[in-house]
């Protein structure tokens, strides 16, 4: 069914199809319409789930962990200050290997206060042990959310999954979205089964301490699961394409990069206008390309470097700054000459801005540049 809906609506639609049994929710702009839609679904009987009105994001993630420990599928959503308020719980949920799916509406961090979109919230949490994916449009947000359950819950992964949408630019922009049928969703998404749950026949202790003798072993297993998730992401996308007819490209989405002399690395919904500018530059004889990162964790470092290596120069455009250093995407990529900081606090990134980045690349500029 094709519908004209927002990015947040698309996430809510995907969650309804995935049918989590427990949803814990605390409102924060610009995430709110996701949890409002889900409340409507639950109250109207369109979604059979426990909807827990928690009193904070800290409790939203805590309740999601508890429900996951009870062995059921869960969902929660947050943004910005809320993500940071639950930051203590993020490594906890990951270390406990609870395959929680959470939507994060990317939003700036205070101070100064700002409700608009940038990516400083989620990028500050890269090391918490979650899979982190970034959608570009509402259709991808829906599809990514469905796939998030497949990937997170897979027995070779068992790691929580954060689906990121640019605040307002994506969460509140209306687009035509294909909403799959429940039958298709059920064909795609297996039932959630796990051994890592409360069991009265074989009682277990969870969330325990592990001293120096054991600690690294748990972290290494977690790390290896994250690495294995690359394979599971590919499997999920293959199966998704067979059922829904839409094919995604794993960790990266490379556009006209094969013969590109100048490549712009991007994250999230700004990628669309970067491709438009690329097309325009190509017509003017400039061999431009765009490399959109879809997954920040697991991170496709080798593939990124292989794509960037033949180019003359590349830049990372990101809505983030690690104060005193550079943008976090730039430092992760490690192979780009220039780091363009833009879009902070919802600032517009125009086609002219993007064109100017390619011009500066051609002129041999490098280092951290503010739009």
């Amino acid at each position: 069914m094709r519908s004209f809906i927002s990015g947040n609506d698309a996430v809510a639609a995907a969650v309804r199809l995935a049918a989590p049994e427990v949803i814990s929710a605390y409102p924060i702009t610009p995430q709110t319409t996701v949890i409002e839609r889900l409340a409507e679904y639950v109250e109207s009987g369109g979604l059979d789930a426990e909807y827990i009105h928690v009193e904070s994001e800290h409790s939203a993630m805590s309740a999601a962990m508890g429900a996951s420990l009870a062995g059921v599928r869960t969902f929660t959503a947050t943004s910005s200050q809320g993500l940071l308020y639950m930051a203590e719980l993020l490594p906890y949920a990951a270390g406990g290997r609870f395959p929680i799916v959470m939507m994060n509406a990317n939003r700036s961090l205070a101070l100064p206060w700002n409700i608009y979109g940038d990516q400083r919230d989620s990028l500050s949490q890269l090391d918490c042990g979650w899979i982190q994916a970034y959608a570009e449009n509402a259709q991808e947000a829906l599809d990514m959310t469905l796939m998030a359950y497949y990937i997170a819950e897979n027995e070779r992964v068992r790691v929580p999954f954060m689906v990121n949408l640019d605040g307002f630019h994506l969460t509140h922009t209306y687009e035509v979205v294909e909403i799959p049928s429940q039958k298709q969703a059920d064909e795609f998404l297996p039932r959630f089964e796990t051994e890592n749950k409360i069991d009265f026949d074989r009682p277990k202790n969870f969330g325990f301490s592990a001293g120096p003798d054991w600690n690294a072993q748990f972290h290494r297993e977690h790390h290896e699961a994250m690495l294995r998730s690359t394979q599971v992401i590919a499997e999920a996308e293959d199966k998704f394409a067979r059922i829904f007819g839409r094919k995604y490209s794993g960790a990266l989405d490379a556009y006209r990069c094969d013969d590109a002399e100048y490549i712009l690395v991007t994250l999230g919904c700004v990628s669309g206008i970067c491709r438009q500018v690329t097309d325009a530059l190509r017509e003017e004889g400039v061999r431009a390309g765009v490399l959109r990162i879809r997954y920040m964790r697991p991170f496709a470092l080798d593939e990124i470097r292989a794509i960037l290596a033949p180019a003359r120069a590349s830049a990372v455009l990101e809505k983030d700054i690690s104060f005193g250093n550079a943008g976090t995407v730039f430092t992760n990529v490690g192979a780009a000459a220039m780091n363009v900081i833009g879009g902070l606090g919802g600032a517009d990134i125009s086609r002219e801005h993007v064109r100017s980045i390619f011009v500066r690349l051609k002129n041999g500029e490098n280092g951290v540049i503010w739009l």
């Binding site: 426990e50 800290h58 805590s62 309740a63 429900a67 062995g71 409360i198």
Partner: protein, 277 residues
């Protein structure tokens, strides 16, 4: 038949842990699980009982149990209860949080769970300071008690009244208890287990290390606190308060305080003042 200390379950659900000798908190956990049985899920935040009970691979709970983040006892319990209900599992979800985990850092999540009326049993084992980290003052440290963060004068504030706070938030049942009066404690746990909604039991649990008492005095001190009227046994039920017993020897209050090392900062005047707070 009502459960009493005479017919308690002979099985042990919490053993092989490394709690200090004379620990009141570990007794509170052990006895509560004997009342609630094998289908209890024990939820413990950071604190003494989680520190002594969950050291992989030496795991001390024979039922399902977990450590939660410090502030998250009640909210993790909420998620577990909802998830188990979805699975059709009948179980008691029981929390064991210390005084700091309850009255300080865990208070917000506790309030949320009470507000939702979640079907949970929350037990605060109160040893009146952050004992796990080395005896620092909490919101439930009593007036005059020396801790490592009130090292000279002792605490200048009285304990928060957690029972009143919990009742005001709308709990179904709230009760105070003492590890010195186990029959009363056991009866209250059994009562809580039979009720729907949010139940709260606040059990005073002496800590020899932090209180400056001998390891064989835990029970005696826990009884005496009730007898001298310092720790009142009360219940809140159907919107009504009930005093379970009157202090049997209020005249021994000063004697009760002076035998505990933690009250050594109290001079004669302050000891008199204690009678008023």
């Amino acid at each position: 038949m009502a459960v009493s200390v005479k017919n308690l379950d002979s099985r042990e659900f919490f053993f092989g842990h490394k709690a200090c000798a004379g620990c009141g908190g570990s007794l509170a956990v052990r006895i509560a699980l004997k009342v609630l049985g094998a289908r209890a899920v024990a939820v413990l935040p950071a604190g003494c009982m989680s520190a002594v009970g969950f050291n992989f691979p030496q795991l001390a709970f024979s039922n399902n149990a977990l450590i939660t983040p410090f502030a998250a006892t009640a909210s993790v319990m909420t998620g577990i209860e909802a998830g188990l209900r979805r699975r059709g599992e009948i179980a008691h979800v029981v929390g064991f949080a210390g005084d700091g985990g309850t009255a300080d850092i865990g208070l917000q999540a506790l309030s949320g769970a009470i507000d939702r009326g979640d079907n949970l049993i929350y037990i605060c084992y109160d040893n009146e300071a952050y004992m796990n980290t080395g005896i620092q003052k909490s919101g439930l440290t009593p007036f005059g008690a020396r801790t490592t963060t009130t090292p000279i004068t002792g605490s200048v504030r009285r304990k928060k009244d957690m029972l009143a706070i919990v009742a005001a938030n709308g709990a179904e049942y709230a009760a105070s208890a003492s590890v010195g009066y186990l029959d009363d404690y056991v009866t209250k746990i059994e009562k809580a287990a039979a009720k729907p909604g949010f139940k709260y039991i606040h059990v005073i649990a002496p800590c020899p290390t932090g209180w400056g008492i001998k390891t064989n005095e835990t029970i005696e001190i826990a009884r005496e606190a009730v007898d001298v009227g310092l720790w009142r046994l009360r219940e809140y039920e159907n919107g009504q308060w009930l005093e379970n017993c009157a202090p049997s020897r209020p005249e021994d209050l000063v004697k009760h305080l002076t035998r505990q090392g933690r009250f050594s900062a109290l001079d004669t005047d302050k000891l008199e003042e204690t009678k008023n707070v």
